[in-house]
């Protein structure tokens, strides 16, 4: 139901000015209860009022009521917060321990200092976020340990008592760790596992339910969070830690590779980004992004991305080796004409990002089939190699930019 905006504005004015009569309040309540649109308008109006209020006053860092109106305990607690705020902000030593050495695609950095991402930015505790399939960012710690985050995901960096702490809430992470001090292993946390590393090269692929970790060099100790069991994973072995404790949690020699791959959405094949529908397709998920996905720069105006990503090398698949002249075939549908951007990322067969590649196509029919030779897809950054022959396919993505064209994918195949 569409509310009468003028009437709603009138009632909301009376509400925020605290002059509303009982019958008007009842009318407002009734309007809000019946209409979600009216509720949206209500939030906007009250938010505006609140912002105007704030804009005319100095920002209150931490609210304290006058002492006479609050208990001593509350006053002491609030006063302590203010003290801590002032003391810690004033005396916090500079804890920058890593540098963002490169990135591409929609990637953001957030920290307490409000720093914006840029190449060469020295960072301390904070969060890196990739918002698109083509997102990629590399961080190097002071001791030379490298971490690369690829695709849609979030990586939180921290350091405590000279120990590096990485929280991966989703996405693909590749780590090349220098030898760490005794008793201070680098620790990687995911929603389903925790890994300790003294010095090694390994890759982690995590989502909300499971984590796959494969080790190229050295030794990694992995704990499955669902039951606390631990396992050591040596070079050329991999392990999957799922939240379901009844699944296998044993390090195994890496599985055979495959040169072909096919999505299996009808059997609930998990996708990185996108919503599985009841009729066995996956619908694009909308993300809001402030970075220019084409050149990796921050935009003042945000961009809407409507993205579906696939992980061909996800937990129960053999690793996908890119070889020769292969093609990606997408079958799907749209509800309006538009351009789709398609890409994939590849890791070096022995770990670490090799590159990301993309192209675009105009789609003009409601049902479509797009065949794209991998050779048609160009590196998203000049430092990436021309063609990742012999390396591992990690992500595949398809998206529309700004315009939501109702993108749904029925299947994706990698054909020889």
């Amino acid at each position: 139901m569409k509310p009468d905006i003028d009437r709603l504005n009138y009632l909301l004015t009376r509400l925020v000015d605290e002059t509303i009569a009982d019958d008007e309040l009842a009318e407002l309540e009734s309007l809000l209860e019946r209409s979600p649109k009216a509720q949206d308008h209500y939030f906007h109006y009250l938010g505006l009022h609140n912002d105007l209020q704030s804009s005319q006053h100095e920002a209150i860092t931490l609210p304290v009521k006058p002492a006479s109106r609050m208990s001593f305990a509350k006053f002491a607690a609030a006063a302590a917060i203010i003290f801590l705020g002032i003391a810690l902000i004033a005396w916090q030593p500079d804890e920058r321990f890593a540098t963002i050495v490169d990135y591409s695609g929609p990637v953001s950095w957030s920290d307490a200092g409000g720093n914006q991402i840029k190449v060469g930015l020295k960072v301390g505790a904070g969060t890196l976020e990739g918002a698109g399939g083509e997102s990629w960012v590399e961080v190097v710690f002071a001791d030379g340990t490298e971490a690369q985050l690829s695709g849609i995901g979030q990586l939180k960096l921290g350091k405590r008592d000279n120990q590096k702490l990485l929280h991966l809430s989703g996405g693909s992470l590749s780590i090349d760790a220098q030898p760490q001090a005794a008793g201070k292993p680098l620790r990687v946390f995911t929603p389903s596992a925790e890994a300790e590393v003294l010095g090694t090269q390994f890759n982690v692929l995590a989502n909300a339910y499971s984590t796959r970790l494969n080790v190229n060099e050295g030794l990694v100790k992995v704990k499955r969070l669902s039951d606390g069991s631990t396992e050591q994973v040596k070079a050329n072995h991999e392990i999957t830690a799922a939240l379901e404790a009844e699944t296998d949690f044993v390090a195994k020699r890496r599985r055979q590779s495959s040169f072909t791959w096919q999505s299996d959405l009808s059997r609930g094949h998990r996708v990185g980004s996108g919503t599985l529908t009841a009729h066995g397709t996956v619908r694009a998920e909308t993300h809001l992004w402030r970075g220019d996905f084409r050149i990796g720069e921050t935009l003042e105006k945000p961009v809407l991305l409507h993205t579906i990503t696939f992980h061909p090398s996800a937990v129960h698949q053999p690793r996908i080796k890119i070889q020769g002249e292969q093609s990606l075939v997408f079958k799907g549908r749209i509800n309006q004409d538009g351009q789709v951007h398609i890409g994939y990322s590849a890791n070096l067969w022995n770990g670490g990002l090799y590159g990301k590649y993309k192209t675009s196509r105009n789609v003009t029919t409601p049902s479509f089939e797009i065949v794209i030779p991998l050779s048609d897809m160009k590196p998203t950054k000049s430092v990436f190699g021309d063609h990742p022959d012999g390396h591992e396919m990690i992500h595949i993505w398809i998206q529309s930019v700004k315009k939501d064209i109702g993108l749904e994918i029925e299947s994706v195949e990698l054909l020889p």
Partner: protein, 174 residues
Amino acid sequence: MNPNSDFVRLWTRHQADVERYLFSMIPRQADAAEVLQDVSVLLWKKWDQYDADRPFIPWAIRFAYLEVLKWRQKQAREKLVFSDALVEQLNTRFDDHCPLNEARTKALENCLSKLGDQERKWISMRYGRHGAIREEARKSGISMHKLYYALEKIRSTLLNCVTESMRKEGWNEA
């Protein structure tokens, strides 16, 4: 990194979001401000339970909602602004609005700069010093009713301007 400093930083950064939420649940400025105070103290006490892997705002708003309910219980004998059912609906729907608050606030800054001098002055009086609107009415001879009507129009203009700015910038929930 000291966990207390983490709290101070996060609270300083997100206090406005919690304040906005509370005002939506308790649309009376003084009451909302009082509950905000209680929420800040509660969050600090609960800080050791905060999971740093999870976003701060939903965690804070969960406690803010509990404080709203507590405040409503305390007011049981007084007239509450909204029914329990509506407060629950609004609490659920607020989640959809939270991510865009910052963008709306920024858009408002720009929209304020487009107002005329007189309009800006009235906004400043209304939201600045207490009683300034009454004083202006007396000085200028304009009735209070007319001034409040003018403010209603200005807020409506600002609301349209913010919505339009959001739309132009590609935000789809404006």
